[in-house]
């Protein structure tokens, strides 16, 4: 029986020719899926009956009805006699504001910060390259370089192509020692990162600049927005923040705390509200309070969820109806992300025409190699990098520094 199941599956994975009516595919897919799942549900339920004395009813046990994780009503919870937690952003802020907003005594230059933050990266990739080619430009060294790049999340395809190109050039240009190869490697990486415009676009005289911030869950959208708001406010531009993440619990509160910290205006609605309507109202608000910049926070969403991506598309359309083309649509990408980062970038590019990437959490030991792959494959420039937890740790992405940072101590 099992074989037939897997056979069905295999057949379900069909090659679809270009000339076939999509509707046939759709119908076929439904029939296949229904047939497959139906059969297996029956079979597996049957075998369950064979092996356990339980009735079939236990198989279809309903999930705990209390477990309403969605946007529905909440159960009342017995209140505990515990100290009260402050509810408003202002209250939350009181405890932490002073330490956080104080400017660092001796601010480092961008270059210094970049280098310092990338030290860990450099150690892994940079030094290993020196070691590799220290003994000459050998086959082992090339393989080692491949390994180093893959380990940096550059990805197999991009790595293979990069290294092949390097080998060709090394041969043709007679690079026979480590220095020469590293110089070539730097060149290749720089050209892979392209020379796109990495400045954040702003509107002309009319109306506020609008930046829409998107990304999958947990990449650091809200934090990035907070940091952006801090920088903009400090440079004298008034900012309105729109809490269009109406899904995640307390997302609006989190953004509210950033608004208070930075002196930005906040537009929010209740949890579960239509994010597009928050976006809509935020633009009106930004106009009427004369903000120069509107930054719209959106709920984290996995890029393979069509409905959520559609929802995001709607947010953007609503904004564009009012504001015209948005100045920036940023994708926040976690530097620890592996090859899935490319899929993310692709999907967001398709859904909302991403104009730039903010690469966050580059202060871990993650190498940010995904940047190379994304830029190479999709041409979306990295515009910002998150280098740490503090407000000032958001920096413009500089490919020269990035590559220098990778190999700075050589």
């Amino acid at each position: 029986m099992h074989t037939s199941v897997t056979e069905l599956l295999a057949i379900a994975v069909t090659s679809i020719g270009p000339d076939v009516d999509p509707l046939l595919v759709v119908i076929g897919a439904v029939v296949l899926a229904a047939g497959l799942l139906g059969r297996n549900a029956v079979r597996s339920r049957r075998s369950a009956d064979d092996t356990s004395s339980d009735s079939a009813a236990t198989d279809v046990e309903e999930p705990d009805t209390d477990a309403d994780g969605g946007r529905g009503d909440v159960d009342t919870v017995e209140d505990l006699d515990v100290p009260r937690v402050p509810d408003t952003p202002a209250e939350l802020l009181d405890d932490r504001l002073p330490a956080e907003v104080e400017p660092a005594p001796e601010p480092l230059t961008l270059g210094e910060r970049f280098r310092r933050r990338l030290t860990r990266t450099r150690n892994v990739l940079g030094s290993s390259v020196v070691e590799l080619f220290g003994g000459g430009v050998t086959e082992d060294a090339w393989e080692g370089l491949e390994e180093a790049l893959i380990t940096a999340d550059v990805g197999v395809t991009a790595t293979t192509e990069l290294v092949e190109e390097l080998r060709r050039r090394a041969r043709e240009e007679g690079a026979t020692d480590a220095d020469a190869v590293i110089a070539l490697l730097k060149q290749e990486l720089r050209s892979a990162l392209g020379s796109a415009d990495r400045t954040l676009a702003r509107a002309g005289d009319e109306g506020p600049t609008v930046w829409l911030v998107t990304g999958v869950n947990g990449t650091g959208k809200t934090t990035t927005i907070g940091k952006l708001a801090a920088v903009e406010q400090r440079e004298g531009r008034s900012v309105t923040l729109a809490a269009a993440d109406t899904f995640r619990a307390a997302a609006a509160e989190q953004l509210g705390i950033w608004a208070e910290r930075t002196g930005a205006q906040l537009v929010r609605k209740d949890e579960g509200a239509d994010p597009a309507s928050v976006a809509y109202e935020s633009y009106d608000a930004a106009r009427s309070n004369d903000s120069e910049l509107l930054i719209v926070d959106t709920a984290g969403r996995l890029h393979n969820k069509r409905q959520l991506m559609d929802e995001l598309g709607k947010v953007k359309r609503v904004l564009e109806k009012q504001a015209g083309p948005l100045e920036e649509t940023l994708l926040v990408l976690d530097a620890t992300t592996g090859q899935n980062g490319i899929a993310q970038a692709k999907a967001f590019l398709e859904a909302v025409e991403v104009t730039g990437i903010a690469l966050t959490k580059l202060d871990g030991s993650s190498k940010g190699g995904v940047v190379v792959a994304v830029q190479r494959e999709l041409g979306i420039p990295v515009k910002l990098v998150g280098l740490g937890e503090e407000v000032d740790d958001l920096a413009p992405f500089d490919p020269e520094l990035f590559v220098e940072g990778l190999f700075g101590e050589l």
Binding site: V5, T6, A12, D66, V85, T336
Partner: protein
């Protein structure tokens, strides 16, 4: 187009078909593809090396079983090895001990700890436990608020006295609060921290130490994002060395990442992956199944999960009816509508079909959209029963116009559906005939075979270039389900 591992393996093994044993050259050729597949799935480089080395040892000289071709033999071995490396069977979270038992959640920023806290509470409640969530993330703005909301959503107690300061005393007090309130389980949400941040790692270690002082069971769970890349190894190792953990929660597995990190983490820490977070809802949290993950990492879809989902959603009559409809040779639009309804109950159709191995890619150009199904559905619903049974025979121009008007579509769309459906129907009919000729076999076996034949035809109809590489899947037999139940 059918660009999966099995195709590549078939190509690599093309020359050796029919040979009795796998020689070194053959094995190395296949291992190259497997290595690539694993790397693309974000399995750590070193871990890939270890796994392929082990596979090499197993495979060289391995006899190709009679029933399988070489690539099936290899895939079967790879699947078995990955499943084993992922931990074999699901490991439950053991919280037996004097109340309250404590679960500490730790991990990087954005890995999904606070959400996991709510989900774990839901899960434990369904097991009859009475959990209390304790807010020890005093770093991220509004993290405490988020935990409170999650607790409310899932109907769990919450202890969240402060929003800043030292989390260690909060953890300690949380235990006594739980005891006072009669909660038997404490779930502690901690701040996200970098694995290179020694100070914060130390703080996490302090929390786990302090909560252990009451003498009850303490389990630390490491929450890691299924999308994480090569760094998974270093992150997991740092947390294990400096905080220590008993199990892993793999979050955001409802994305399309192949999740090689799971393999990396398990391989370097040995800690079992206990749970997978598989959706936005608080109930979308389930026991981790190593056998299914293996297929996913290899890029072969997570079919067992789908089947299980179907099992929970379909009633027996429905499945029996669907089966009957498919095999009777009399597959009508009515039956199709039923199937559509059944599938829809399982979730958005696009996501669902995307979970089938390889499908996601095929359907990308087709742009399956739930709206499109809505049109199809509307058209069928605008038909009379007779029209649904025999659209080609009954439908004249006037009827078509009526249906188009009734469904808010156009006559062209109605025509298209009727035409395309007729194609599918033709295939189903001839397949049913074929299975009928196979004689009086037990219903189940005949059903499967007939259906397989039908599917194969349907696939060709859909423009496929033959079942290339499908053989590989036969090696990937789902493990027999134990008891057939999840909860």
């Amino acid at each position: 187009m059918f660009d999966t591992l099995s195709t590549k393996l078939d190509a690599a093994l093309d020359k050796v078909k029919g040979r009795g044993r796998l020689d070194e050259k053959t094995v190395d050729a296949t291992l190259k593809e497997i290595r690539l597949a694993l790397l693309e799935a974000d399995v750590n480089f070193k871990v890939v090396k270890q796994i392929t080395a082990r596979l090499r040892e197993q495979l060289v000289g391995e006899e190709v079983a009679k029933a399988l071709n070489p690539s099936q033999t290899v895939i079967k071995a790879v699947d078995a090895e990955l499943t084993r490396a992922l931990g074999g069977a699901a490991v439950p979270l053991d919280l037996k001990g004097p109340a309250p038992s404590v679960v500490v959640l730790a991990g990087l920023q954005g890995s999904g700890k606070t959400t996991a806290a709510g989900k774990l509470a839901t899960h434990l409640k369904s097991k009859g436990r009475n959990p209390m969530l304790v807010a020890c993330d005093l770093q991220r703005p509004a993290a405490v608020e988020q935990l409170k909301v999650n607790a409310k959503r899932v109907g769990a107690h919450v202890y969240a006295p402060v929003t800043s300061g030292d989390p260690v005393p909060v953890a300690r007090e949380g235990i006594s609060k739980a005891r006072e309130t009669g909660c038997d389980t404490v779930i502690i949400d901690t701040a996200g921290r970098l694995h290179v941040d020694e100070v914060l790692l130390e703080q996490a270690a302090d929390i786990t130490r302090v909560v252990g002082e009451h003498g009850g069971v303490v389990r630390t769970l490491f929450v890691i994002d299924a999308m994480i890349g090569q760094e998974a190894v270093n992150v997991a190792k740092a947390f294990q060395d400096q905080v220590g953990f008993d199990g892993v929660i793999l979050s955001k597995l409802d994305g399309d990442a192949r999740g090689g990190a799971a393999l990396s983490v398990r391989e370097v820490t040995g800690a079992p992956i206990m749970f997978a977070s598989v959706g936005e809802g608080m109930e979308d949290f389930e026991a981790f199944h190593p056998d299914r993950m293996a297929g996913r990492i290899l890029g072969m879809g997570d079919v067992m999960s789908l089947i299980e989902k179907a099992e929970e959603t379909y009633t027996e009559e429905e499945t029996a009816k669907a089966e009957q409809a498919l095999l009777s040779g009399d597959f009508t639009l009515e039956d199709f509508l039923d199937q559509l309804q059944m599938l829809k109950r399982m979730g958005p159709l696009q996501g669902l079909l995307g979970m089938m191995p390889g499908m996601s890619k095929q359907l990308k150009d087709v742009d399956i959209d739930d709206k499109q199904f809505a049109h199809v559905e509307a058209i069928i619903r605008s038909m009379t029963p007779r029209e649904r049974r025999d659209p080609k025979g009954v439908l004249n121009g006037r009827r078509r116009k009526r249906i188009a008007a009734g469904s808010g579509t156009t006559v062209t769309e109605v025509n298209r559906l009727v035409k395309q459906f007729a194609e599918v129907q033709k295939v189903m009919k001839s397949a049913a005939k074929m299975s009928g000729q196979q004689g009086a076999k037990p219903k189940g076996a005949k059903g499967a075979k007939g259906q397989a034949a039908a599917m194969r035809q349907l696939q060709q109809q859909m423009g496929g270039g033959g079942p290339a590489g499908m053989g590989g899947f036969q090696g990937l037999q789902p493990a027999p389900r134990k008891g057939g139940k999840r909860r």
